[in-house]
């Protein structure tokens, strides 16, 4: 009896600690299929939370670590052009405002899935500098074939550090 209780407790704790690592945030659309992800409501991204338009683009925390926040929506990425330095790990956080979109950074090995109601997080380090196109690879509706963003990877010394509260994108925004 005691052993059974002990075993049950251990299993419960294991289950809870797995859940608490937020593994489900990382690109698993399973939670979305099960009815609701862990992330923000796709209809109100512009009203509250980390995906308001003033918070999109590259941000830098006190330790110097870079985070890029993006929205994928029918049929444009916001921001349409993102700029990052080469050779340092960059955290991406992306969500969708409608359908499922699939970004691939052409010319690199990386890709990201954007799922409504879920935040997909990933860490990428871009070794090559240059301009990379970001087409959408998951059919998302009538304008899908022209859905395309851009990634500019610049040498590290050309990427001046960001003040807290400053957000960076390339082009007009």
């Amino acid at each position: 009896m005691k052993k059974k209780i002990g075993f049950a407790t251990v299993m419960l704790l294991v289950a809870l600690s797995i859940l608490s690592t937020r593994f489900y945030e990382v690109s698993l659309p399973v939670w979305h299929l099960l009815g609701g992800g862990n992330g923000p409501d796709p209809a109100t991204l512009h009203l509250r939370g980390e995906f308001v338009e003033s918070n999109l683009g590259a941000a830098q925390d006190r330790e110097g670590f870079l985070t890029v926040r993006m929205i994928a929506q029918q049929y444009v990425f916001v921001p349409q052009c993102i700029i990052v330095p080469a050779g340092v790990p960059i955290r991406f956080r992306i969500t969708s405002a409608d359908a499922v979109h699939m970004l691939s950074f052409l010319g690199t090995d990386y890709g990201l899935k954007a799922v409504p109601g879920t935040v997909t997080e990933a860490r990428f380090t871009f070794s090559k500098t240059g301009e990379f196109k970001i087409p959408c690879h998951e059919f998302c509706g009538a304008g899908h074939y022209a859905m395309r963003g851009q990634l500019d990877v610049v040498p590290q010394d050309q990427f001046s550090s960001l003040r807290p509260g400053e957000r960076r994108t390339c082009g007009p925004g």
Binding site: L16, H46, V76, Q80, P164
Partner: protein, 260 residues
């Protein structure tokens, strides 16, 4: 023997309590980590939040807008007539046509005028006196008005364009967009191929109004579009492209008597 028997039932609850306490303590660790993580997610200092529009296409909003009463709208529309025209066709290009307008788009613009998210000294005053229900009723009324001024008018688009040579540029953008620059085809959001919530019908509009709005999206004077959708697109269009699409959509109401 008797003593031992009495003690045993006492000890079990104590063990239970200890186990429970240990469980809670272990539970608290992941919870604390979660809290720590979510505060780390937010950058230490965030820029001031900019909200483009208070409208969000939630189920409740969609239900409210689609339940508008066109007859009540007709009565309310009297105060709009002298600018937007008796039948939703305005005589002056700076006043947009409203006949056949998309309901969601119409309602959203009224809300944005009211909250000051879209700037127009004239319309902000007009919208201030109306409730969300009034706007839904007006939207229902205007969306039902026929989009052809004259039923026997059989003009078609390219023929009535001031500069027909721009038609090719316009048709390309409307049908295909430009994948290289990330400009999706206009018709994938504005119809008739497909619609996104809140995108107005463009074929009901006059040329100079369309041109002005594209200009305003591009330079940021108008920035009430949700998630920077229309601003991203307008910024990429060249002056010639803006003129071309405006003239094309603005060229008579042509065969574009389509509605949602």
């Amino acid at each position: 023997m008797g003593q031992v028997n009495r003690k045993a039932p006492m000890r079990t609850p104590v063990r239970w309590l200890v186990t429970l306490a240990a469980m809670f303590a272990l539970l608290a660790i992941p919870l604390l980590r979660l809290r720590g993580d979510s505060s780390a997610q937010q950058p230490s200092e965030e820029p001031p939040v900019r909200i483009p529009s208070n409208v969000a296409w939630t189920r409740e909003t969609l239900a409210l807008v689609s339940s508008g009463d066109p007859f009540r709208g007709l009565l309310l529309a009297r105060r709009c007539n002298h600018c937007h025209g008796e039948e939703g066709f305005s005589a002056v290009p700076v006043f947009p046509n409203l006949a056949g307008a998309d309901r969601l788009s119409f309602w959203k613009q009224m809300e944005d005028f009211r909250s000051g998210k879209r700037i127009s000294p004239v319309m902000q005053v007009q919208a201030a006196g109306l409730s969300t229900r009034d706007s839904a009723d007006l939207a229902a009324y205007y969306s039902m008005l026929p989009t052809a001024r004259d039923p026997q008018d059989s003009r078609s688009f390219p023929q009535t364009m001031q500069d027909p040579s721009l038609a090719t540029i316009a048709i390309r953008l409307i049908l295909f967009g430009d994948g290289q620059r990330g400009i999706p085809p206009c018709q994938s959001c504005h119809g008739p191929v497909s619609y996104v919530n809140g995108a107005p019908l463009l074929a009901i509009q006059n040329e100079s109004y369309l041109q002005d709005q594209l200009e305003h999206f591009a330079n940021g004077y108008r920035s009430n579009d949700i998630n920077v959708r229309m601003r991203s697109i307008a910024r990429q269009l060249t002056a010639q492209e803006k003129t071309a699409v405006s003239e094309y959509y603005g060229a008579g109401l042509g065969p574009g008597v389509y509605s949602r």
